[in-house]
């Protein structure tokens, strides 16, 4: 495989790497950069565990060649909390029992963040739509949907049910 240079923006850092041209973004993040929050549940685009944001849009990093990220901005769960302060989505997932085994959680939170970044006041159907590519085998989804709606309400300045 060809070695090619790659520069892109990852969370708060500028990354410059030489990569094999066939490397997926998922493999670059996990195996080379050691950012393991992003998970691999299928490596074939069917589970959503590997969801990241590329220029703000949710993408399955197992299906994206890293080389395609040249000059772009990639966000993973590692970059979601602000200097140790949890994002409202993270707190809502904790309070709402929206994570059990936790394997789908990074992808879920990223998919949810993509939704709330573009639509601060989604209805239930829009939330379901936003996470429809993310499989969870533990929770039955309802707590996840509730958590995303609760986080949205808090981010709009509303009160949350519990602290």
């Amino acid at each position: 495989m060809n070695r090619i240079p790659l520069r892109f923006h990852l969370n708060d850092a500028e990354i410059g790497e030489f990569i094999d041209s066939g490397t997926t973004l998922l493999s670059l993040l996990r195996d080379k950069l050691g950012l393991t929050a992003t998970k691999s549940g299928c490596n074939q685009g069917s589970c959503g565990a590997c969801t990241v944001l590329i220029n703000g849009a949710p993408q399955l990093s197992c299906l994206v060649l890293a080389a395609r990220c040249e000059g772009k901005s990639v966000a993973t769960l590692e970059g979601v909390s602000d200097n140790g302060t949890l994002h409202p989505l993270q707190r809502a997932f904790m309070d709402g029992f929206a994570a059990q085994c936790g394997f789908c959680t990074p992808g879920m939170i990223i998919a949810a963040k993509a939704l709330l970044d573009r639509n601060p006041d989604p209805d239930r159907g829009e939330v379901i739509d936003a996470i429809s590519g993310n499989i969870c085998r533990c929770t039955g989804y309802e707590p996840i949907i509730d958590a995303i709606l609760a986080a949205a309400a808090e981010m709009r300045g509303g009160k949350r049910k519990s602290a």
């Binding site: 996990r30 549940g41 490596n43 069917s46 993973t76 590692e78 989505l89 936790g102 394997f103 533990c138």
Partner: protein, 456 residues
């Protein structure tokens, strides 16, 4: 709200506990939402080798020859493992609790007994090279007739699936099935007002955990090896690995951790022994991880079951006889199925006091994917069958299904069909509480009943 008498579960209940109804955050949840929880595959090791398995495309076939020479020529392939490399190739997971005989090869050599069975492990520097190498292994097969149905498999002349058993069923202390005998069902059927027989059947069910099965084995100093695994059964894995590798236990170290979904699907010992051996022979860290296809196709599902239930019931609502024939499809190998089949036998009369019970619970070998544990295995499908049957019986005699269950529920002191006395029963009270919560009217007579006999 409901009031419960303090006498139920009095012995089991520690009065100082007040946890029910109180929300407690999971202790691991902050790691989950920040992505800091470490799953086994979140570790990176320099020099990591990837293991890819060559699997049988046949449900049942004799292996005529295995040629690995082309695989070894693939750039990046380090070595291959075949059955000859395994110190003690034939095992069964539950040998640890005296289940016999050993009936499953770690790597198949003379025969394959299900589609997807492991034959040759290819070790390579990259996943791509390991896949390429696996594709170049040439196995010549002679396909054999296969059997996929539990009742077909028990017929004379059916293809023999597993030579280690010599027949297509697991033998329980000299018997062809696990049996429960209590009273005289045939006499009771003759005396019953109604007799019905129904058939229930389920398919295999895959757990489909979001994280696939896998492990990484790393050579430590002093000739010891550490296995990072997502197994649900660390000590089963340690013990079986030591037996398969004929290794002293202290040389093997198992590190578990967060399991990315298990549901019983990660209690078999499949990936670890072969990864241990690969790391020992290659002297490098080795990762053996199921692809999503492998997880769906070859990891053990919940067993398919077929259950026949014949009941004798009286017009006054008493079930006086229950005869059950139950078939558990173990697939090609035992794994946890002999145990699940025993659970099914003990469970089958259900939580009801029936004076005449006859159960034959069969653990059957077929050329399907070996089945194993999954949430409540051995009783879940049986419960489905039993409770559907209870509704049918209630309808048959024109009784309310809740009242029918209360009437037949076992009470403290009743002898269960498998010979144990009932203690701590609370089913009557549970059904009464459920009826109240569901606004389901039940008669005064049934409201007054209790798990302590002779209120009835």
């Amino acid at each position: 709200m409901l009031e419960y008498s303090s006498k139920y579960f009095a012995e089991e209940r520690n009065q100082s506990l007040h946890e029910v109804g109180v929300e407690r955050p999971r202790s691991d949840v902050q790691g989950h939402v920040t992505g800091r929880t470490q799953f086994y595959a979140d570790r990176n090791f320099p020099g990591l080798l990837h293991l890819k398995m060559v699997r049988s495309p046949h449900h049942h076939a004799r292996i005529k020859s295995i040629d690995v020479s082309k695989a070894l020529k693939v750039p990046g392939v380090v070595r291959v493992l075949t059955a000859a490399d395994i110190p003690s190739n034939i095992y069964t997971i539950l040998c640890l609790i005296q289940v016999e005989p050993n009936d499953e090869p770690v790597l198949a050599f003379d025969k394959v007994r299900y589609k997807g069975e492991q034959i040759v492990a290819v070790l390579a520097d990259s996943q791509r090279a390991a896949r390429e190498g696996a594709a170049r292994v040439k196995v010549v097969y002679e396909p054999l007739p296969a059997v996929f149905d539990v009742e077909e498999a028990l017929k004379p002349g059916a293809p023999l699936v597993n030579e280690y058993h010599g027949r297509n069923w697991f033998t329980y202390e000299g018997h062809h099935c696990r049996r429960v005998r209590h009273g005289d069902v045939e006499k009771a059927f003759a005396a019953a007002d109604h007799v019905i027989e129904e058939k229930y059947q389920s398919s295999p069910i895959e757990h489909a955990p979001t994280e696939t099965t896998g492990c990484i084995v790393v050579p430590d100093s002093n000739d010891r090896f550490t296995c990072y695994s997502n197994t649900q059964a660390l000590y089963f894995t340690l013990d079986n690995s030591a037996l398969i590798l004929k290794s002293p236990f202290h040389k093997l170290r198992l590190v578990g951790g967060t399991v990315g979904g298990g549901f019983g699907g990660k209690v078999d010992v499949i990936v670890e022994p072969i990864a241990f051996l690969a790391a020992m022979l290659a002297r490098r860290p080795v990762k053996y991880e199921f692809s999503r296809e492998e997880e769906m196709q070859v990891s053990s599902p919940r067993a398919a079951e077929r259950i026949y239930i014949k009941d004798g019931v009286m017009n006054d609502g008493r079930i006086i006889a229950r005869k059950v024939r139950l078939y558990v499809d173990a697939g090609a190998y035992s794994r946890h199925s002999p145990y699940g089949t025993t659970k099914a036998a003990a469970h089958m009369p259900g939580p009801y006091t029936i004076p005449n019970v006859w159960v034959d619970s069969h653990c059957v070998y077929t050329n399907r994917t070996p089945s194993s544990a999954m949430r409540g295995f051995g009783v879940t499908i049986g419960d489905f069958a039993l409770e559907v049957q209870m509704d049918k019986l209630a309808r048959l005699i024109g009784m309310d299904p809740m009242e029918f269950r209360i009437l037949n529920a076992y009470r403290d002191g009743d002898l269960k069909a498998h010979g144990k006395e009932t203690t701590g029963a609370a089913l009557v009270e549970c059904i009464q509480a459920a009826a109240q919560l569901a606004d389901w009217p039940i008669g005064e007579r049934y409201k007054a009943m209790s798990s302590q006999r002779k209120g009835a």
